[in-house]
Symmetry: C2
Subunit: 358 residues, 2 copies
Amino acid sequence: MKNTALIMAGGRGERFWPRSRRNLPKQFLSITDDGKTMIQLTAERLLPIVDIEDIYVVTNRDYLPLVRDQLPGVPAENIICEPVGRNTAPCIALGTAMISKKYEEAVMMVLPSDHLVKYSSLFQTTLRDACEVAEKGDNLVTIGITPDYPETGYGYIKFINDISESSGRAFRVESFTEKPDLEKAKEYLASDDYLWNSGMFLWKLSTIKKCYEELLPDIYDAMQRISKAAGTREQDIVIDELFPSLPSISIDYGIMERAENIYTIPGTFGWDDVGSWLALERIKRSNESGNIVDGNIITINTRNCIIQGTDKLIATVGLKDLVIVDTKDATLICSRDHTADIKKVLENLKICNRSEYL
Amino acid sequence: MKNTALIMAGGRGERFWPRSRRNLPKQFLSITDDGKTMIQLTAERLLPIVDIEDIYVVTNRDYLPLVRDQLPGVPAENIICEPVGRNTAPCIALGTAMISKKYEEAVMMVLPSDHLVKYSSLFQTTLRDACEVAEKGDNLVTIGITPDYPETGYGYIKFINDISESSGRAFRVESFTEKPDLEKAKEYLASDDYLWNSGMFLWKLSTIKKCYEELLPDIYDAMQRISKAAGTREQDIVIDELFPSLPSISIDYGIMERAENIYTIPGTFGWDDVGSWLALERIKRSNESGNIVDGNIITINTRNCIIQGTDKLIATVGLKDLVIVDTKDATLICSRDHTADIKKVLENLKICNRSEYL
């Protein structure tokens, strides 16, 4: 069966401000040292298992030039624009509609565009295994990540750690859980029944369409109408008409938590959702003082800092545990314990109508 | 007797980096909110007691355009260039030579160009009193500052706190002491015999010349030869020839600590030598979070920080006790306990031949 992929690239994440902006979200930034952007890396690591003409991207209209520019090999008609953001269930329905126009049946992988994977070949093996499980029956397969530490920022998957309940390399999912507090996260880490929910899914077109029909009939109807118009002159008109009225609902909440035949394959391929500036410590090499430093930097008596600069000189003296990010028009200086409060800067900017910095 | 003033403006202070640079030292910066530079404020507060044509400035040749630009009212022939820096004793000798060309006898005030005074009228009253004491006999008068706190960065003056030993409002100086450690500084503060040495001096031309003749005869000889050439075409040639060979010695060490008839007038006019970025806390008003903020700044959960920016946005999150100074080509981020280490940044830049930032 044909493998297809849907890359979701409509996110407007604010946690990489000031490098990420409304007009340049995280997925279009290069965070790693190889100079490739996150969406480029996402597409690149799919190529051994998906033909490039079967890679689809759903994005926001504002980002269409960025996607075209960064993924020149993906056919223009595979890049689909959401007129407004409506969470993952409508987004995936839109992708499903477009892919269904080309293939009556196929395996469909759904992938975020702004995560990193360290070991590409392990990732590809895991996805191949997942394809098999998805192909074999009407299974919804989610990629779980074996946790390294008690992260409180992710949802978790509770699975039945019993080979007799498995299908190929996939295990049956018992339930999805919301982001836990630290106590619960430690408990999950200590047990062997929990995986991180990576937001990567695999299924057949027919399987997911059946789920939409049963569980999200409004979205299913829109999907059918969009699919009919796909590739015609009407396509964008129909999307613009139907999409904004769809409910904003996640695929987890709308389908995964309510459907049956949910399986997970545990992945150990060095996954990272790069959820904040602190992720750089997992991705980049720190120097002997524990600093992660890029740019024109002089550090004096400075420890455990993340400093991301440009050509401009940044001199640090007697600092520890800070995140410093310099861009052309804005500088962020943030204590490592307060990266979650970066959004307050953005709220402040919004209130003051200073959209040039958003 | 005529009052004259010599403003010393050759300093290359590094403690206000990155705002101050080799080609723009502290005395030429505006630190206060009124937009006037420190040397402008220095000259301005002398005007009620010294005619502007009797104000002299000794500076480095590199800074001649800055002095001319910032003090347009001071006669061009009163601005004297040191070919090289040779500490205060040769500097003051140079000024004495030039003033002696104009006046056979006069009171001469010697003032640093990079200190601040809060209460100008009290300053002027104190200087008038000091002029009287200098005029009355062969007295060397230094302005002492009543200490507010146990500062370890200043030298101290020990004076004889006894009205029977006083001359007018001036008290006899017993000795000068070097910068003390904190323990000693606390002791000095607790006693009533110590004042801060402000580096401001007053004397008659004849008095100081006699001191040079007795205590620093090499400098005296040079002074005499320069005085003879002053105002002629030979002036700069003679200065260039003689000055570099003079010993680098301070007026405190060369004369004040060894001469007799040393008096001090205690001043309480809100003096500040603005010795580091932390001085801004004494000079500027902090906001309700204890931050001193200038520029385009957003602070979230930030306390007791000094943030000096420009047009560029600086956003701070979860910080305390930092000094942040942004300029066009360099940003300093320094813990308030480490401002003394700013010079290490400059050493690093020197070693790396990055003089564009010095």
